[in-house]
């Protein structure tokens, strides 16, 4: 009886701030085809578990898509089958998904866009933006701090996309005029295997390398193996990016080979879901743009960004 009463009291409290009817929120994200996307899926599921437990009547539906086309199909299902009240989407690509998201908005749903902006920003109610230019810039500025003029660095890019271009642009802008020479920037496709091979070839090609910038932590880990195998880990350091658990742990422990990484957290999907839920459960306004910073992670602050269970 006591238990029933407390449940009733809790329900009454909830009803005080929240709307009485059920709320369905659709979450559309890329499938876990590489490390960062794996982290994205994990954090989305964590947010679902946490928020559904906290709010009665809240239903979060996550749909992972393997391509832009699949994502557009998933959006149609969100409207037709799930009849979502809100959509949280990390679009595969900006252009092709703008119209499908517009369709969802026209069904009356509240729209939250994450990371990659749509071509027409007027569709969205909330935009949670990652900073890819800042991602490259933070890494570049760290190198400018640590290296002398005349130092030689190599870069490792991801898959040729807008994200990759922005990160590279930020990095080049940061080291521009510092006297640091960028020897080469090959694509290692955000893959550990490819990064291992690209790094081996850099080591063959350049007798002297002072630092390596990898535009993702997975690539940093692959490159690290190649550097260790060649026995040249004393000669250079690596800066990664993204916020992979294995790299952050190393940074926290004071690893000299990867002394720093840049945060580009896959957990930004949780930020977006939280804000969207707040639209229905909170009495405060949430609409607007949220620019997430890409801060540098070093030994000093690494602990704060470490999630032991995250797959990325």
């Amino acid at each position: 009886m006591k238990h029933l009463l407390s449940t009733l009291a809790a329900a009454a409290l909830c009803a005080g701030v929240a709307q009485a009817e059920d709320v369905t929120i659709g979450v559309s994200i890329p499938a876990a085809t590489h490390g960062w996307a794996g982290g994205l899926n994990w954090h989305a599921q964590e947010a679902e578990r946490r928020l559904e437990a906290a709010h009665e009547g809240l239903n979060i539906v996550i749909a992972a898509a393997g391509s832009a086309t699949e994502q557009a199909n998933a959006l149609e299902d969100m409207v037709a089958v799930q009849q979502v009240d809100a959509l949280v989407i990390l679009p595969f690509e900006s252009d092709p998904l703008t119209d499908p998201v517009r369709q969802v908005a026209e069904s009356g749903a509240f729209i939250t866009v994450v990371d990659r902006g749509l071509t027409d920003p007027s569709i969205q109610n909330i935009y949670v933006a990652g900073d890819n230019v800042g991602f490259g810039r933070s890494a570049g500025e760290y190198m400018v701090d640590r290296l002398e003029s005349g130092a030689q660095v190599v870069a490792m890019r991801g898959i040729p996309t807008v994200i990759d271009d922005q990160r590279m642009q930020g990095f080049e802008e940061a080291i521009d005029g510092s006297g640091i020479e960028l020897l080469a920037a090959e694509h290692a496709n955000w893959s550990r295997d490819d990064a291992f091979e690209v790094m081996q070839d850099y080591l063959t090609r350049f007798p002297e390398i002072d630092a390596v910038w990898a535009a993702d932590d997975d690539m940093a880990l692959g490159a690290l193996e190649a550097i260790r195998e060649a026995g040249r880990e004393d000669e250079m350091f690596l800066v990664g990016g993204g916020g992979a658990a294995a790299v952050i742990r190393g940074v926290a422990e004071g690893d000299a080979t990867i002394p720093a990484t840049v945060l580009y957290p896959p957990s930004m999907i949780a930020t977006a879901i939280d804000l969207t839920v707040a639209r229905f459960m909170s009495n405060g306004p949430v609409e607007g743009t949220f620019n997430l910073a890409s801060p540098l992670i070093t030994e000093a602050n690494a602990e704060a960004f470490y999630y032991e269970d995250s797959p990325y």
Partner: protein, 334 residues
């Protein structure tokens, strides 16, 4: 290609095998280009890197030579490698909680890898022969299944081998015997074994007969189903061997492991002179094909001559040119 049946014991000519010399010519040409572009290209460290790297695709392609010679195709090898690697890592990490004997853990992991790979090949073979489903569809299906399974096992992220186990397992990729890296030695042994089986055993002749004309092979009292199942099992065993070498390299497996390896393996086989429609296989050519594919990537990484965005185009041109060289020369000869 119907002349390669049991009825005719020897090929009419094999004094000058242009199907093998064509790809070799392409290989030599690439080596010359590489040497011109970068002074370190011909260093032993770089050449050993190339050989070691080509071991994965090369070993898988040796198995693919059997499957393709028999008139089949296996699209599942890349996913199969990723899945095998994932299970091996999970098993070895789990065993660490049960026993302290690390060499036993590594051996069990390797044995499990061999079993899974060969078993997956058997499954493909049985579905194709007993199930009567086209090889393309069966292996397209298993490709998706294994890829999803490894993603599921890794929770979408990366499975990493415990560093204690990895320390002992490491030499299987990084070690060398008399200066030759272990993966290169295993690649050479696999190629030698594949060459002997394909060219000097009754089974090898049966594989090519089945690929040339399955009906004729059946009327010649060849158990065609069994030959095909064995071909897919050899493919599975080769995938297992490649995976056993792969796991200690980075000590990890993820959803991106082995992506597109199936196409690279098939490309290596065809560049090497084996016919995609079956009936004729060349292990030596396959080895050359695998080396050519690795060389292209290596040369592109060693130079800035070509925009990064065009890497795929360069690869495409060289693959087509290598096959043209091979076909063009052999056509002139006959």
């Amino acid at each position: 290609m119907t002349d390669i049946t049991q009825a005719k014991p020897a090929r009419p000519r094999f004094s000058l095998d242009w199907k093998l010399l064509g790809p070799l010519a392409a290989l030599v040409l690439l080596l010359v280009i590489g040497a011109f572009l970068n002074e370190n290209f011909l260093s032993s460290a770089n050449l050993l890197n190339i050989l070691t790297r080509s071991a994965f695709i090369g070993i898988i392609a040796i198995g693919a030579t059997f499957v393709i010679s028999s008139g089949g195709i296996d699209l599942s090898v890349g996913s199969m490698a990723a899945f095998t690697a994932g299970v091996m890592i999970l098993l070895m990490n789990w065993m660490l909680g049960v026993t302290d004997v690390v060499w036993l853990i590594v051996l069990t992991g390797i044995a499990a890898g061999a079993l899974i790979g060969t078993g997956a090949g058997l499954l493909n073979g049985l579905l194709i022969t007993r199930g009567g489903i086209e090889a393309f569809i069966v292996t397209l299906g298993t490709m998706g299944i294994y890829r999803s399974l490894v993603t599921y096992l890794a929770d979408g992220g990366t499975l990493s081998l415990d560093s204690d186990v990895r320390g002992l397992y490491r030499p299987v990729y990084y070690g060398d015997i008399l200066g030759l890296p272990v993966p290169v030695i295993l690649f050479a042994l696999a190629a030698l074994a594949g060459w002997i089986v394909l060219n000097n055993t009754a089974f090898g002749r049966h594989v090519q007969s089945v690929g040339a004309n399955e009906d004729v092979a059946r009327y010649s009292a060849i158990n065609t189903d069994r030959v095909k199942v064995f071909a897919y099992m050899i493919q599975g065993a080769c995938v297992a061997l490649a995976t056993i070498v792969y796991v200690p390299r980075l000590g990890s497996a993820s959803a991106t492991t082995g992506v597109l390896w199936e196409l690279e393996a098939i490309a290596a086989v065809i560049i090497g002179g084996t016919l995609l429609k079956g009936g004729y296989g060349r292990i030596g050519g396959t080895v050359t094909g695998a080396l050519i594919l690795t060389l292209i990537g290596n040369i592109l990484n060693l130079t800035d001559l070509i925009s990064n965005y065009l890497n795929g185009a360069v690869q495409g041109v060289i693959i087509i040119a290598a096959v043209f060289l091979q076909r063009g020369l052999s056509r002139k000869q006959s």
